[in-house]
């Protein structure tokens, strides 16, 4: 077991929330350690969900748009410039029951005064038999990584939110036809994204439908689609299936430690980033089931940094008395 120098602030997670918190706490000379996560082909990776997107058009300050991974790299560079340190590992255990707070990366123990939790959200999968086996063999969690391999083919995107439509639009660069399969009769996505789907001649939509079976020996060959209203089943031949049905908060690490809703979202005190544990703050999608935007995550990351900074100052002032 290795122990490391005590920290004033540890930030767990490195999406827009964690990196904004890192920029602010680093500028406040708190020398934060960012436990940024490990490489992965899901959103559970350094940089978070934006690492799997292409063009980000709604982040203020980028009138021409910016690539998701580039935006995250720039946020990371900005935090590093002011002295934030990065550990490209996943936090594996926490203990917030005594002071200082403790965070582990496998056998390595880190102690800290304040903790900022910004672990974000994980992409949901369909939960079908054979789904895991077929990932990388026709089933994909990353359109930007895998779209290239479906040139000239017909593919399916499952979902109805902005990310489903963004993926579908992106995939029309390669595929001859993209069918969006959505279980409701209308999209959750923003109007501008919906219009983009309806205007694209390569995109078709199958409403009120669910994928209920994946078929393929070595690679995906077909899917079974069930009509959610009539129950009628149909088999579609497809080479590629992209899943974009939403996210769940990445909070397994904090079960029994931090207050969370039944859905797993961390509970913060209204108008602040404070959790039920003193000195532990939460920001970004891990505590936000309403907005879930890069800019709201960044905003709440700033709140967490300021809350942590004030909490540290107050504690210091109290200790000096």
């Amino acid at each position: 077991m290795t122990t490391h120098p005590h920290r004033k602030v540890i930030i767990i997670g490195s999406g827009p929330a964690g990196l904004t918190a890192a920029v602010y706490t680093a500028r406040a000379s708190l020398a934060p350690l960012v436990i940024e996560g490990e490489p992965s082909s899901t959103s559970d990776q350094p940089g978070g969900q934006l690492m799997l997107t292409t063009e980000v058009e709604n982040f203020p300050g980028f009138p021409e748009g910016v690539q998701g991974p580039e935006l995250m790299q720039r946020m990371r560079d900005q935090a590093a410039r002011f002295g934030a340190e990065f550990l490209t590992e996943k936090a594996t255990k926490v203990d917030f029951s005594s002071r200082p707070h403790r965070v582990w990366v496998r056998d390595d123990e880190y102690t800290t005064d304040a903790v900022i939790v910004s672990t974000g959200a994980l992409s949901l999968m369909l939960g079908l038999a054979d789904e895991t086996r077929l990932i990388g063999h026709g089933v994909s969690t990353c359109a930007t990584c895998d779209g290239f391999f479906f040139r000239g083919q017909e593919i399916v995107v499952v979902g109805g939110g902005d990310s489903a439509i963004e993926e579908a639009s992106f995939l029309t660069k390669f595929a001859t036809k993209v069918t969006i399969i959505h279980r409701r009769d209308k999209f959750r996505a923003s109007k501008i994204m919906q219009q983009r789907a309806f205007d694209n001649p390569k995109i078709a939509v199958r409403w009120n439908s669910q994928v209920t079976r994946l078929v393929g020996a070595n690679k995906l060959e077909s899917i079974e689609v069930t009509d959610t209203q009539t129950g009628a089943k149909e088999t579609l031949a497809v080479g590629g299936l992209f899943v974009a049905i939403g996210h769940k908060p990445n909070t397994d690490l904090f079960k029994g430690v931090l207050d969370m809703e039944d859905t797993g979202y961390l509970v913060t005190q209204p108008g602040s980033s404070r959790t039920n544990v003193e000195g532990v703050f939460a920001c970004g999608d891990v505590q936000d089931h309403t907005y879930r935007q890069a800019i709201t995550a960044a905003g709440s990351g700033c709140m967490a940094a300021i809350d942590a900074e004030r909490w540290l100052e107050h504690r210091h002032a109290t200790a000096a008395k």
Partner: protein
């Protein structure tokens, strides 16, 4: 030089995986793939640490899509382990260093 990462092309691909005296890890990647960029430093570290026991090579699928298709690569990053020119294992998707070393352990 020990620890170097071999850049694969149509001209050296077959030769590299057949002639190597160690297992060969081939990383299929592309510039536009975020997770591929994250594992690049990881496999470069492994190339140095496992020099002599493992040959590490990279193939850009944008430039050599024919080779990617020949091995049915449909997702990147995909890492294929070759021994004596034959595929013995396939790792699909990015992962951290300790996980990757764990996956490679049985081949070294």
């Amino acid at each position: 030089m020990a620890g170097n990462v071999v850049t694969l092309t149509t001209d050296n691909f077959d030769e590299t995986i057949k002639a190597a005296t160690t297992p060969v890890l081939v990383d299929f990647w592309a510039e536009w793939c975020g997770p591929c960029k994250h594992i690049d430093p990881v496999i470069r570290q492994i190339a140095v640490e496992k020099a002599g026991a493992l040959t590490v090579a990279k193939l850009n699928v944008d430039d050599y899509v024919d080779i990617a298709l020949r091995f049915n690569v449909m997702s990147i990053p995909t890492m294929i382990v070759f021994k004596n020119g034959k595929e013995v294992d396939r790792l699909v998707g990015a992962r951290g260093k300790s996980a990757l070393l764990g996956d490679l352990g049985k081949h070294l």
